[in-house]
């Protein structure tokens, strides 16, 4: 049913809708050896969100191809962490924006070395000048429409690791490649799923771990003032490849570095 494309062997037809319209979605998996610890989270999200886009896929099909990819590439990296990237598109052709009936989705499989881990002592973060717009039909989906994130990422200049993007209401929503957790007197707060451009699998795991640990967590909009005010006790960013990344400095202002969130979300817990 799926058309497979191994990125190290084949190229993509230029009428593939992943290129022409960004008509698809992707997952970036952290892999250790031949094991992707968050695999089931990624599969769940990919299948659910493909359904929202109307791209028909079966979870067991994607899982089987992931297993093949993990076996195929794990030998290349030895003990080093690596990345398996899945791109799922609606397929080739169609009449303009309108998809043809019964299109055959394309699954592209790519591997890459993992990026350098951010310092455990925390990272420098700033606010983006690029506003974030989220269409409710696409909220949270890691689609191939990522130009807003690209435009914001162009602002990244060392040592700034990430920029936070705000929506038209003035709420701070997420980073270009990270979700946001802020520790306030009431406990941890993270913006609600409906407001997100990308609802990360690591975000999902952190929410589950906080609940398991009996920690207070609220999903609600976060005003900019709450991040830069005196009541902000800590900020962490989450990303499925990098895990939980504490922020040590936001827009020039030092912050206490939280290690609790990373600890309770570590794979050994």
């Amino acid at each position: 049913m799926l058309q497979l494309c191994w990125a190290d062997e084949a190229a993509l037809e230029t009428n593939n809708r992943g290129l022409t319209y960004g008509d698809g979605l992707f997952e970036t998996l952290r892999v250790e050896g031949a094991s992707a610890p968050l695999l089931s989270y990624h599969l769940d999200r990919l299948v659910r969100d493909a359904g929202r886009l109307g791209i028909p896929v079966a979870r067991h099909d994607i899982a089987r191809h992931c297993d093949s990819a993990l076996a195929r590439y794990c030998g290349l990296y030895g003990d080093a962490v690596w990345i398996l990237k899945l791109i799922l598109t609606r397929g080739e052709g169609g009449r303009g924006y309108r998809p043809a009936p019964n299109m055959r989705p394309t699954l592209i499989l790519q591997h890459a070395p993992a990026p350098q881990a951010p310092p455990a002592a925390g990272v420098y973060v700033d606010f983006s000048r690029v506003p974030l717009t989220v269409n409710p039909v696409l909220s949270g989906i890691k689609t191939l429409n990522r130009l807003e994130q690209v435009m914001a990422a162009r602002e990244l200049v060392d040592p700034v690791f990430e920029v936070l993007m705000s929506n038209a209401a003035g709420d701070v929503v997420e980073g270009t490649r990270t979700n946001l957790f802020v520790r306030l007197p009431e406990g941890w707060v993270t913006p609600p799923a409906s407001s997100l451009a990308v609802s990360g699998v690591m975000r999902q795991r952190v929410i589950e771990r906080l609940h398991s640990a009996g920690e207070a967590l609220t999903e609600r909009p976060l005003g900019l003032g709450e991040l830069v005010g005196h009541s902000c006790q800590a900020i962490c960013l989450t990303n499925s490849v990098l895990g939980v990344v504490p922020v040590r400095n936001l827009a020039g202002q030092d912050l206490p570095v939280d290690s609790m969130l990373a600890t309770i979300c570590s794979p050994s817990n």
Copy 2:
């Protein structure tokens, strides 16, 4: 400087940012024989908007490759109208969303038969249930991020030719592949460029022709009530391939069919 990709000869590397992030833009040119009547409009827009995205291109380079493509493919279509599609991407690779410095942009050249012309007696149009969101950083740019339009186009069922999309403020902005002109007692009205997802070259030409003809034209937001109310005298849609398309029925309500706009915008004028 550009990396050329002739779609009928070559495929695309799967690390091209046009695929991975929709990091690029496109133009769809109507061609008659070896001549694309709106070529200069397309070139102007492509170069201007590539500049907004930070993709460096020279107009004369794109123009030269267009000339080659027109010469290369015109023989395939005889007297029939055909389409030349240009896709310009930021190029291959980069570190995640963040582009690498000095990337080499990719120009993909594709040809296709023209779609069937809509009936001169006008088309059926409805309202989309998919809201339109426009990031001010990307407004008007025909980027490769077109999933909102794809999701809306999935609603198209014969005989509906187009659906109109509204923004969060409730203003009707544009169709999935067309811009909108509404004739009201004050004259023609079209939504302002800053509100548009795609600012079409045909829209630009219509605006110029209306001005030349001394017709009243205002660029301002259009409430839904203005399109379905008694004061709406006519609605036309514009598209660079299809030209000016009068609407004969909106959401089940018949409308007077305007032929003036198509007439003053015809190539012979």
